[in-house]
């Protein structure tokens, strides 16, 4: 099945710093999403981005489908950004099945 690798596994930042999280995947996809799991365990959908670039406030994401990677940018990080960021993909040959998740990047932002 499709493999999803996220890097780095852990990231520690001071408030106000910028960061880039990476997601590599092993096959063509028709669906890619980024999620944030906050310290209370809630999974929040950040971006649906199988290709292209999107921005939402301090967060933006870019997926280069032909090169099989996606990047999540966090600018001017805040303590509320702490948590685990997951990338999840669906293989184009298995459309309509389910998203496969990477192992996540754990972000800690301190004040």
């Amino acid at each position: 099945g499709i493999q999803v690798e996220q890097s780095p596994p852990d990231l520690i930042l001071q408030e106000g710093a910028n960061s880039t999280l990476r997601c590599n995947f092993s096959d063509s996809v028709n669906n890619l999403q980024w999620f944030h799991q906050n310290p209370w365990g809630q999974l929040i959908n950040l971006f649906y981005i199988p290709s292209g670039t999107k921005q939402n406030g301090r967060l933006s994401a870019t997926t280069v489908a032909t090169e099989r990677y996606s990047l999540l940018y966090i600018s001017s990080s805040q303590t509320t950004d702490s948590g685990v960021y997951f990338c999840a993909v669906e293989n184009i040959d298995q459309a309509g099945t389910a998203l496969i998740f990477g192992k996540g990047t754990t972000l800690s932002v301190s004040s």
Partner: protein, 115 residues
């Protein structure tokens, strides 16, 4: 109004017992899922149902039995609970057909602890 709701949020039970987790979505989606998150935070798909029909049944022990009475509900029943079943179980939904936006929305999770 919560889009994907699961109950209960917490279950603590003894080995060997049977338990159920219920899930409802009010988004009008045609597909629902159960994911399991282990202690290392890894999220793994267990089941998916499209319009009450089982689409995915990953390598899950047959002690786990999903049931979808209609496309807005997907319940999970677990028989003969084992210590290794302790995890957080997430229900999710998405619209797959015909307009496949594919965005996945999660419930708040149900933390199961088996003693």
């Amino acid at each position: 109004d919560t889009a994907v709701s699961q109950t209960p949020k917490y279950l603590v039970t003894q080995m060997g017992n049977d338990k159920s987790i219920k899930c409802e979505q009010n988004l009008g989606h045609d597909t629902m899922y159960w994911y399991k998150q282990d202690s290392k935070k890894f999220l793994k798909i267990m089941f998916s149902y499209n319009n009450k029909e089982l689409i995915i049944n990953e390598t899950v022990p047959n002690r786990f039995s999903p049931k979808s009475p209609d496309k807005a509900h997907l319940n999970l029943h677990i028989n003969s609970l084992e210590l290794g079943d302790s995890a957080v179980y997430f229900c999710a939904s998405s619209q797959v057909n015909p307009a496949n936006t594919g965005e996945l929305f999660f419930g708040e999770g149900s933390r199961l602890t088996v003693l």
